[in-house]
Amino acid sequence: MSEAMRTEGRLAEQVRDKADADTETAQSVGVPVASRWSARLRNAGIPVIGFLVILLFWQLLTSGLVSESTIVTAFQPRNAFRELIGFFVSGVIYSHIFASLERIGLGLALAVAIGVPIGIVIGHYRTAERASSLAFQFLRMISPLSWMPIAIIAFGVGNNPVIFLIAIAAVWPMIINTAHGVSSLDQRWIRAARTLGANEWKLVRMVILPAVVPDMLTGLRLAVGLAWVVLVPAEMLGVSDGLGYYILDTRDRFNYGELMAVILIIGVIGYALDQLIRLLRVHVSWDQGER
């Protein structure tokens, strides 16, 4: 494993540890019910307070104390929340949300389809790891958005370049985590499978793939985070729907309340996606997220 890959591995472990801590506090056993509830309230309360502090700052910065310009005051939370409700009442936002989710879904699917096989090969064969490490460390550090002109030349204007950019952002954590999982695979499983009559293909399908599911889900969680961050700017070019497009649209209409409402929606969906993968990792993965 190269140094950078190890760092990525450590990062993945931190994500795991975090997930463990989350599940542990939620499942503290042997504590009386009443104190468990108060602990749960405390657990939920502190993050909520943190969130309220941010809201307070938002309010203070836009209330006219810093600047009395109407451009600034238009960004006030009350406008944002009013427009947010308006979005769902009018239903205007749904098509944009679905467009964004569709792109992120396709982009991630592409990243998984490309990243997992490459990760398995790199994790499995030392030569492949050495051959690819320099190239991948180089490619990984290029902002996915730098590819945008090339993506548009290659795929034309529309959905495809956006999906490509998401895939290129999300493919690295998939590759690196899958490779990390395969290379740190318990060798006893391989030996056991070979004595049980598994050939190379069965070894991959029946041992390596299921064994690295936890690592792939860790990779997917990092991939979703990156993809969601890349999605918004990627949608600012060449498409006529999606949350990224809609941000520019609100700006062009000078509707800063709506702009802030879209930002809120982006944050909430991103948080929800992350939690979804975390739950998936706890419930689908054979190690119940305990590694």
Binding site: D186, R188, W189, R191, A192, A193, R194, T195, L196, G197, A198, N199, K202, M206, V207, P210, A211, V213, W286, D287
Partner: protein, 271 residues
Amino acid sequence: MASVVEQEQGNVSTAEARIVLENAAKVFAARSGDTVAFQDVNLTVHEGELLCVLGPSGCGKSTLLNVIAGLDELSRGSVAVAGEPVAGPHYTRGMVFQDYALFPWLTVEENIRFGLDARGFKGDKRSIVADLVALTRLQGFERARPAQLSGGMAQRVALARALANQVEILLMDEPFGALDAFTRMEMQEEIVRIVKAQGVTTVFVTHDIDEALFVGDRVAIMSAHPGELRRVIPVPIAHPRDRVDPQLVRLREEVFTEFNLAHTREQYYHI
């Protein structure tokens, strides 16, 4: 070939040879110099026999087992099973590992079925698995995951998984090393019962003298650094055995002497 005759003195069986090792040696090459795992090993395991390989750590007994399994290659000499030289692992040679090596993402049943699935076995898998669950007394645990099992239970699963392939040879690498003393004794009785019921030729590697004598039809004694086969002691006591059988106790003394672990009173006082 005098050494062959000498080592084979423990042979009480008239059954045909199943595993034959001739002048076998395994050397691990390293930058700091070669390490001899074992050398000059001549050993024959007979059909249906339960042979224990007994020795301290570093005598190469686990490597010897891996060589028979086909997971490791010999540096010198030859290993043959049923007259055929061993070339890689084969499903007819099942292996049971000390730390079970169960697949944690599969249930007990799925673990047992793994070999059948891996080699695309077309017969009645369900009845094979059900029979093995009964044989290894795993009823009620079919749907459990390895993480939910005790060490003894996990090793029963590993044994059933190896047997599911209708193995001709069962290789056990310190299978009860991770178990507590009482579970270990229980499992020793179980392994004899199961192996004898299946009539499968078994090589059982251990560093536990009492275990080797309780379980083995013969005990091959190895010494360490370099790993060499010292002698093969027959244990002519019918199964199931009594742990305090006087004959077993005598054999135990013999093995102790072989490892220089038996001290006379005078020797003791001189120290």
